[in-house]
């Protein structure tokens, strides 16, 4: 599984950082998504949940 994020789409809701802080963070400047680990082994469920919860559709999970 691989994750891709699009900071241009991100609205900074923080749902990803809340769902899995080991995979997602937020930039201090503008709060947009920062991907800490694009291939998060052992965090697949959380990553899918984060993608589902992202209100702006800024997170893609490629299986």
């Amino acid at each position: 599984m691989r994750i891709e994020v699009d900071p241009d789409r991100c609205a900074g809701s923080g749902m990803c950082a809340l769902t899995d802080p080991e995979v997602f963070d937020q930039s201090d400047d503008d709060g947009t998504v920062v991907l800490l680990n694009p291939t998060p082994t052992g965090h697949e469920r959380e990553a899918r949940e984060a993608a589902h919860l992202c209100p702006a559709g800024a997170i893609k999970v490629i299986e």
């Binding site: 609205a11 900074g12 809701s13 923080g14 937020q26 400047d29």
Partner: protein
């Protein structure tokens, strides 16, 4: 598809913590149905979770102020259409214009930033619980705790002084009162506008360690833009969390087994807060959008210009998304609710709201382990007459 025309948005509840029953019937039969809006415009009502998410995430549906038609009345009369959003009032903007303003704030509301506020929020909660104790049994928990805590937090964040808070609170309340005529609501709004504009002018001379000062110092915004952004945060940060603390307490007191489980294991608070958000859905008549072009949605064509009222209450009780949705259950997976909205306008302050609720509920039940209502539950006055649902008062007792 046969189209039934609903002459008005169902708003009458038969049970205080449940949405109007007609919404559930609609969700089963016509999750997107024809709705007549009070100003005579024909639009749509969305009641399913899937369609609610679809509309809210689709930028072909606009949140621009001047396009909206309100699904509810003020003082019994249709609410007139609004002028375009003033500079900085980004909730009522679309696309890049909206994104430009929102980006300037999102860094201030990250999960990390909000977690750093926990000690300060704990102190504010502790002080107000001491007030509750001092006032003694029979105290109104709304007045002594639920309203002042989030009010003080957002005022501190923005740099509104404590002395100015009361008049500000009174005007904010007027803003959400549906029994008032629109002119009165407008007047209250203008008083808040003047107040914030004056505050921004003063921040030039007396900069503080607050968000308004921070926005001024970006050098990217006019004073009018800063004032309107501040206004939006102040208003949004006030009544919403306050009402969740009030009606959330009522809900927990009404479910003693779940409350006992939470008291026994305070780590359940994160999920309890999500479930309270889902179950109560206090933005009781929202959200709303307007189609910018013809859009196929749930088997119908929403025509350009038609308003869509999205029932957050109905979406959050959708059995297709949540198992046994009518039950309040702090153990269920409750994430994925749309109580904070969805799409690019999803609540900017949601992480702050979560922390205020987590800290607030846990401290309340830790400090007052035998907290209970001082009146029968049926006598708690519910906010049927307000845009944000909740309780007007919550008299409680304790030993």
């Amino acid at each position: 598809m046969t189209e039934t025309l609903y002459p008005e948005l169902p708003t009458t509840r038969s049970s205080p913590l449940d949405p109007p029953a007609e919404l559930g019937v609609l969700r089963e039969t016509e999750p997107i149905s024809r709705l007549a809006f009070p100003d005579g415009t024909l639009g749509w009502l969305v009641t399913s979770h899937a369609l609610a998410r679809e509309v809210l995430a689709d930028n072909r549906f606009s949140n621009r102020a001047e396009l909206q038609h309100s699904p509810i009345r003020a003082g019994g009369k249709p609410i007139p259409q609004q002028p375009p959003a003033k500079p900085g009032m980004f909730i009522n903007m679309d696309g890049q214009e909206h994104a430009k303003y929102r980006r300037l704030l999102t860094g201030q509301f990250t999960v990390r930033r909000m977690n750093q506020l926990i000690p300060r929020i704990e102190a504010i909660v502790r002080d107000h619980l001491a007030d509750v104790r001092a006032q003694g049994p029979g105290v109104d928990l709304v007045e002594a705790f639920a309203l002042p805590v989030p009010s003080m937090v957002i005022c501190e964040l923005l740099g509104v002084s404590y002395e100015e808070r009361e008049s500000f609170q009174r005007n904010t309340k007027a803003l959400f009162t549906l029994t008032k005529e629109f002119a009165e609501i407008r007047a209250a709004f203008e008083r808040i506008e003047d107040f914030v504009a004056d505050l921004v002018r003063r921040k030039h001379d007396e900069p503080g360690d607050d968000m308004l000062t921070g926005l001024i110092q970006t050098g990217e915004l006019t004073d009018e833009e800063v004032a309107n952004m501040g206004l939006l945060l102040l208003v949004a940060g006030h009544e919403t969390t306050a009402n969740m603390l009030g009606i959330g307490t009522l809900t927990l007191l009404g479910h003693p087994e779940q409350l006992a489980a939470l008291k026994a294991d305070p780590s359940l608070i994160d999920n309890t807060v999500e479930e309270l958000m889902r179950y109560l859905s206090i933005v009781q008549f929202g959200a709303s959008r307007v189609a910018l072009e013809d859009v196929e949605l749930g088997g119908v064509t929403v025509k350009a210009g038609e308003p869509v009222s999205i029932s957050v209450m109905a979406a959050n009780r959708d059995p297709a998304k949540f198992d046994r949705p009518e039950e309040f259950d702090i153990h269920r997976p409750a994430t994925g609710h749309v109580a904070f909205g969805h799409g690019v306008h999803q609540c900017l302050g949601q992480q702050l709201a979560r922390i205020e609720m987590r800290v607030g509920f846990n401290a309340l039940f830790r400090e007052f382990p035998d907290l209970r209502l001082a009146v029968p539950a049926s006598e708690v006055p519910m906010r049927d007459d307000m845009a944000i649902y909740g309780v007007h008062k919550l008299p409680v007792t304790f030993s």
